[in-house]
Point group: C2
């Protein structure tokens, strides 16, 4: 998992045995060479102030756009309004969500899998997005959830000691737990710990590794001859949680429980690879639901970086830091002067404060009003920032309160391989 | 591990950080391209009827020849005569054996590590060699022994199901146990089982994988772009048992217990790689002691193949099969006619029956007499074969008797991760 917990490269897996059109990229070209937007697990950037062109990305990746029909079906089947991240197109793309809904309709089981690459102690607001949505999915569909912390990946990619990576995984697990996942329905694991406790997981890793060549990972992920063999074989490790047989303790050794993966779209290359190999392993392909990227304070061209403290709001920031960062760094789509703003209005498409509100202000009517008033020039940037600061302070403050109670012992409880409250 | 349980490729690891001359190959050339002898973990062959030129191999690999001084030191320190496989130059090459003897002299601990790639149910006489010698080392030096069964490797390389590979590992474990290893001092493990039970082992795998590039494994093992990523990362799995920290239950979490690896020399490339990365992981380099190859019945040009039942004597062969195979297939160095033989004598250097006797006839005087009489032409090939058949029938028959008592439960006891009868 990347730091955003979320995937890509556009070329087809060599010799990919495509079984459905959704998996079929529209072109077979080299990684990210022919477009301005760079979207892969390690790098996301765009030359446009509006950020990545997601419609183009859907075409490149061969996924499907989430449309009103799908949203309406989710609402109808669950009897609940769709989550605002879904209504607002932040989760915008999918693979085989209708199949998952078919299962739900027939009361057949599926499970959720998401994850995070623990590269720093402090998680930022962008890291929250897939987890907030995953929590909603879990509560709405009442299904088991597995969360992979790829401490091995971070050890392989970063200048980190293995023990440091393990420690970061533990700290990140605490933040994830503080989001409020049900311990009876959620298994959080770090690769360094779980792989060494699960012959079944290791078996699926090796089975995946037998079916993927160096040529393929070179094409999908851009690996080269001077990359270490750990990186080269890693994609199999991120693939393996897509198979229920990797968690015999949860699924009572069932190999056929399908998986839905909520993640940011930069993680999609891992799962295109997974969907390619799954049928050859006798497993079902995982379904996916993809989010856009959470913009950096400085604007949507770049993905946030956990190593640049001013690029985002962190879950460890104080009220004062939040206020200062938003006021100082949040890219404004407003006019250069009050006069100009009143005359021409603000541009919500590039205004980071407005963008953040679409992620965190749940009230649709209020958001629409703000958009109208800001676009018309009636509302000033300062007002938007004030509104955002209050919302962020509340979310971060509440999170910090909950996280205080998450001790090492609590984290270990979530991370212990065990049966969950589901019977198979 | 190869089927012979034993390693090579002659070029230096790219950017190899050589710390001692013993590790320094004499030339830096492509894998096996410049010499007639092919010696690597998957292929051993020679154009000479005498087999591989082992003196050249020592030069190519940069190991040290086992000389009379080393053998005398072993005998002096242990107070025991050297094993006949050592006296007769079948274990002929080493890396840092003197360091191991220094430790023994100072009563400091070390341990033994050997292994086998379980590619078939039936093990043959050649497979016995490293284990027979390892058993002698263990009994002589009274040290722990870990035996790796690389079922994952065989799954990756062969047209085998994973469950079949696991089953072969179990069956091979039974044969190994029947050789007579002390359960209180020996841990046998299959990768598919143990890696999923040992976070410490997995950690060492990933640490090794971080330090070795695709370029390096390409150079050492000849891997190519169309090889699967499982093969590419496998060398780290064979490297990891060289580190005592991979077995915290045995070594009480000590990371500094040195390792001695008895193996056939085709496995050396794995351990050259291991010796390269060990210091960068904060670990000691494993020492090695290498054997020559056990010749096929048809002659020393080829390594035996478990898939060709007539290329060797198997531990499952009946007395009748042993007799028939030796009489029919064992390449003779004798004259074409009795007259010619009596006149010119037999050639022990190419006579497979004589070679086999050097492996299995323990009585030095008797062996010397046979050599003398066969070379002079006094003894006929038929006599040599008769002598050999009796010896093999006894060894195989006794083995079959012992193996009958090795149930699944006995095998599981050896394969259970646990403390051994050594305190650290």
């Amino acid at each position: 998992m990347s730091e955003n917990g979320t995937g890509t490269a556009e070329n087809e897996i060599e010799n990919m045995n495509l079984e459905d059109n959704h998996d079929k990229p529209s072109e077979n070209v080299d990684v990210d060479n022919n477009l301005d937007d760079v979207v892969n697990p390690w790098n996301v950037s765009s030359s446009s102030a509006k950020g990545v062109d997601y419609d183009k990305l859907i075409k490149r990746f061969g996924s499907s756009k989430i449309d009103d029909v799908l949203i309406a079906r989710i609402e109808k089947l669950t009897g609940k309004p769709a989550h605002h991240l879904l209504r607002r197109g932040i989760f915008f793309s999918h693979r085989e969500m209708h199949h998952i809904l078919d299962l739900y309709e027939k009361k057949k089981p599926f499970y959720l899998y998401t994850g995070r690459g623990p590269s720093s102690t402090a998680m930022h607001m962008g890291h929250l997005i897939p987890f907030l949505f995953t929590k909603w999915l879990q509560e709405t569909f009442d299904v088991p959830l597995v969360i992979q912390l790829t401490d091995d990946e971070k050890y392989l990619w970063k200048d980190l000691q293995a023990e440091e990576a393990k420690q970061l995984a533990l700290e990140n697990a605490k933040d994830i737990i503080a989001i409020g996942f049900d311990i009876n329905k959620t298994f959080i694991f770090s690769d360094f710990n779980y792989i060494g406790q699960s012959p079944a997981f290791y078996m699926n890793m090796v089975k995946t590794q037998k079916l993927v060549t160096f040529n393929q990972v070179k094409g999908i992920f851009g690996f080269g001859d001077s990359d270490c063999i750990g990186k080269i074989s890693f994609p199999a490790i991120q693939a393996s949680p897509s198979f229920s047989s990797s968690f015999p303790q949860i699924f009572n050794n069932r190999k056929d429980v399908p998986c839905l993966i909520p993640c940011a779209i930069d993680q999609d290359p891992y799962f295109r690879m997974t969907r390619d190999v799954a049928p050859r392993m006798g497993y079902q392909k995982p379904a996916l639901i993809h989010s856009t990227f959470f913009p950096a304070l400085q604007g949507a061209q770049t993905k946030m970086s956990a190593s640049d403290p001013n690029s985002s709001i962190f879950l460890t920031d104080t009220n004062k830091q939040i206020k200062t960062k938003v006021n100082k760094y949040a890219f404004s789509g407003g006019g250069d002067t009050v006069e100009e703003h009143k005359e021409k209005g603000g541009n919500c498409d590039v205004d980071v404060s407005y963008q953040y509100l679409t992620f965190f202000l749940e009230d649709d009517d209020r958001l629409a009003q703000i958009k109208k008033d800001y676009s018309s020039g009636e509302l000033l940037t300062g007002y938007l920032k004030k509104e955002l600061v209050e919302i962020l302070q509340k979310i971060v403050g509440d999170h910090q309160q909950r996280r205080k109670n998450v001790t090492d012992e609590v984290a270990y409880s979530y991370m212990k391989p065990r049966k969950l409250d589901f019977n198979y």
